[in-house]
Structures are given as structure tokens and as C-alpha cells.
């Protein structure tokens, strides 16, 4: 980005008018942490949600929410369904 464009960023005007609430900053940090943790775990290979939960020691619904969100954003892909037809595995997208 050029210096000229940096100076023209309209977000600087909004920063003068608004303060970002702590809750919003926390949401951003949480998402970045979760994305890193899930993607780092999936580097080892495809995993199901219970396997991720076991590793991350977080509530299953929280992990499910972020796995589904990351799938929607294209950060992770869907793998195979297990032989009991219960859980899908999730993996990093193939490049």
C-alpha cells in the first residue's frame, strides 16, 4: 500500500468518532486464537469435532461453532464421514 493511500484511509475518521468496545476486541482475539488452534491441529491430519474437543479442552458447542464458521469462510474443508455415520472429519483445504 502506498503512503498516499494510507493517509486517505477513511477508517481514521471513524476512529476519531468511535471507541471500539472491549467486548468487540475480545471477539476478534478469540476468533484469531481459535482459527490458529484449529488449523494447527488439522496440520497433523483430518480430525472430527470430538477429536478437536479432546485436544483443545473446550466445550463441544464452541468448537462446533468455530469449525462450521471456518468451513464457511473456506479456511477448512470437509473430509470423510466415519464408519458409524456419525461424525465428519475436517481438514485443511488441499491446495
Amino acid at each position: 500500500m502506498t503512503e498516499e493511500k494510507k493517509k486517505q484511509l477513511t477508517v481514521t475518521l471513524m476512529k476519531e468518532k468511535r471507541t471500539v468496545p472491549d467486548e468487540v476486541k475480545e471477539k476478534s482475539k478469540k476468533f484469531v486464537r481459535m482459527r490458529k488452534a484449529i488449523k494447527a491441529s488439522l496440520k497433523e491430519g483430518p480430525k472430527s469435532i470430538p477429536q478437536l474437543v479432546e485436544e483443545m479442552k473446550l466445550p463441544t458447542d464452541v468448537v462446533t461453532y468455530y469449525v462450521m464458521s471456518l468451513r464457511k469462510f473456506g479456511d477448512i474443508a470437509v473430509g470423510e464421514l466415519d464408519e458409524d455415520d456419525e461424525y465428519y472429519s475436517y481438514e485443511l483445504p488441499k491446495k
Binding site: T10, V11, V20, Y65
Partner: protein
Amino acid sequence: MMNNNMNSPEQISTNKLEYDVLVIGGGIAGQEASLNLANNGFKVLMVEKDLSIGGKMIHLSKVFPTLDCSACIATPKISETARNPNITIMTYSEVEDIKRNGNGLKAMVIEKPRYVKADLCTGCPICEEKCPVVVEDEYNYGLTGRKAAFIPFDLASPRIAAIDIENCTLCGACERACPPNAIDFSMEKKEFELSVKSVIIATGFELFPAEKKKEYGFGQFKNVIHSMQMDRLLAPTRPFNNVLRPSDGRMPDNIAYVLCTGSRDLSVGNPICSQICCMYSIKQAQLLLGALPMTDVTIYYIDIRAFGKGFDEFYEQGKSMGVEFIKGKIAKIEEKENGNLTLKYEDFENGGKTVEADHDLVVLSVGILPNKDVSGFFKSEPIALDIHQYVKQEDELMSPAKTSIEGVFVAGTSSGPMDIPDSILSAGAASAEAAAFIRSLK
């Protein structure tokens, strides 16, 4: 956000707008009424409070009883509405203070800032990709997240990004990354003074808030969801990769439906039948048996009201496919350690005894409620509402769209619960009555 090259406020030097008809609401009824009027030469301004037109129908999986793809019906109509030269669309805008103005009416229209320039945004996902904030996606009823810089949903019209300023960290990543420089945080709300000859109210309905039935545990038990969430799970643009439990991503194999959640229920202030819940539940049950062939689906009901064309056959089809129907009233839902749910119900067909049944996913078939926005449009001359708070139809048999205010007509579920075909019929009546009214002014 203006979505028409005709009469765009950006192209008008003053903030005064003049149209034949103001249509409030861009759902299926608003689109039908607008198209009927526009195709007869009337200039229409459609004002939609959301970021996209399409209403609730655009988010559904299929429609009953034909099982046609909902989006396949809705999208061509949305496209036709957006392209009609006689229709101007303002999204993310609200109407205030409609009042008499000689023979016609005037109103204020407030366009909220989207912080994205409509004429520059190409609808690419780059701002979304760069945004570091995730909040609950309202278009998927909280089942997944969305970014603070976001395209509202896949089939949004207009397909223009928006910045959710309340949840924005002001990091500027979206603005730095946007190829056509469409992000503009300096945008402010705009006010327009509107003159029209007639108004059509097509604001649709609100879903019954399922958390009001505390005994069913919605919001507390992750595997208790409501029927619009299930419709999203079944839609081609679904939030998950299949129908899965929100608690742990497992495929459910024993699903229960609880009919009349928030309908025919004085305890929550809604004594009337919502008219659509029996059929959409049977629709979803049939779709579930197709999507998850090993799954059992049980529908707990008080009465099945299959009153429309082809509805009873649709009900019979559900039974023949293997959907189990139990006539019983659910008293309480409890959660087990593994996320499964125990339903305690009064079994009407077995002497009213209390029975317990276990399921691994429960869908609350929520009813519909009147849209409370309507009263806010008419502060100077209040519009009459019926005893259930829907817009009162002054002459239901002879002039079904007529309201208590001359020149103001009602379409679709703003006047009461009804399904999609009836909403379209109602919008037809509203547009015909509005056209006749305008012609009578000449």
C-alpha cells in the same frame, strides 16, 4: 442502499423524492405488489430495512406442498424486481412518520450507512476474508459466524458488502484490501422527504422467540433448535456441511418436532394458529428422511391443520414415508449428559398419561407474530390494528387490502398469518386496490 439506476437519491440534488407508491418491505409480498404496479406504469419506491431484499423466503430450503426449491422461485422474482425500471429499491432504510399530504401521503425515509459504496463494490469476498472479527450470523440464525465486514448472504440482492460498525474493531484491514476502494467509513445516514399517492405495507411477520417457552430449553440446550434454523440446515446454502447437531457436529438419528411452539398458546400471549407450522414441519420431516435416510422423525402435535390445496395429501405422504405422528402436548424438555433430550408429554391418545421419550435433536416449530414496526410508521395518524396486533383489514371481504388510512393498503403477513401462495394473492389484491385508488385521484 439504492439498487436502481432510475431516480437514485445519489443522482438527485435535493433530498426530496416523489413516487406513485411506497412499498414497505422487500419480501415476497412486497416484490409481488411492486412488480404488479410497476408493470402497469406506476413508479414504485420499495424500502427494505434489511441489507438485502428477499424477506424470509430466500432463506428457506423448499416450499410446501410441492417441495419446489424456494430460492429457485425467489431469485428470479428478486432479479425481476431489481431490474424493473419503474422500481427503485432502498435497502438498509427505514420509513418514519407517514402522514397525509393533500390527496397523497408524505413520509421520511432514512437510509443507514453501509460504509461500502454501492457503485464501487463488486461483491467479492476480499473484505470478509481480511476481517478479523466473527459474530453470530443472523441470516443463519446464529448457527455459524459471519465477519464484521460481510456480504449478507450468498443470494443477497444487492450483492454489496456492509460493515457491521457495532462489531468492527476499526483495524482498517478491509479498507486496505478492497481492490476498488469501495469501503468508506465516512458515510453517514441520509434522510429523504418522500411524497407518494399510496402506500403498501408488506413488512411480513416476526418469528416467535423460542426462548419465551422456558420449559423447552431453547438457548440453554444446544440441541434444541427452532424451525427456521432447521430450514437453513436443509437449504442448499446451508451453514453446516449436512444436518448436524449444533452441540457436537454429530448426525442426528432421532429427531423430534414440537408443533404449536408459541402458537395457540395464551400463556405466551399468542392464542391464534400460525397456519404454516404443521405444513413446514411435515415438509422438513420429509426432507430429513431424504437427507438422513437412517433417521427417525417424530412430530408431536395437538392437531394437524392440513387445510390448503394438497395439504392433506402432503400429510398422508409424510406418514407413508415413515414420519411418526404423536398426538401429545410437550410439558418439558430436559437435557442429558450426552446432549440428548428427554421430552415429557401428555399422551392424548392413551388417556392423557405422562410419557417420556428420548431424542437427539429437537426442533421447535415456532409460530409467527405480527411485525411491530408497522405502528412506528404512522405516528401522526395511527393505523388501526386488529386484536392480535396485525394491520386491521377494514373490509376483509370486499376490499381485503384496505386499512384504516385512506390510500394505505396491506399485503401478505402484515395482516395475519398466511403461507407463501396466500401472501402472493394478498399482494395482488393490494396492488390492484392501490392502482384503483391512484386512478381515482385523477
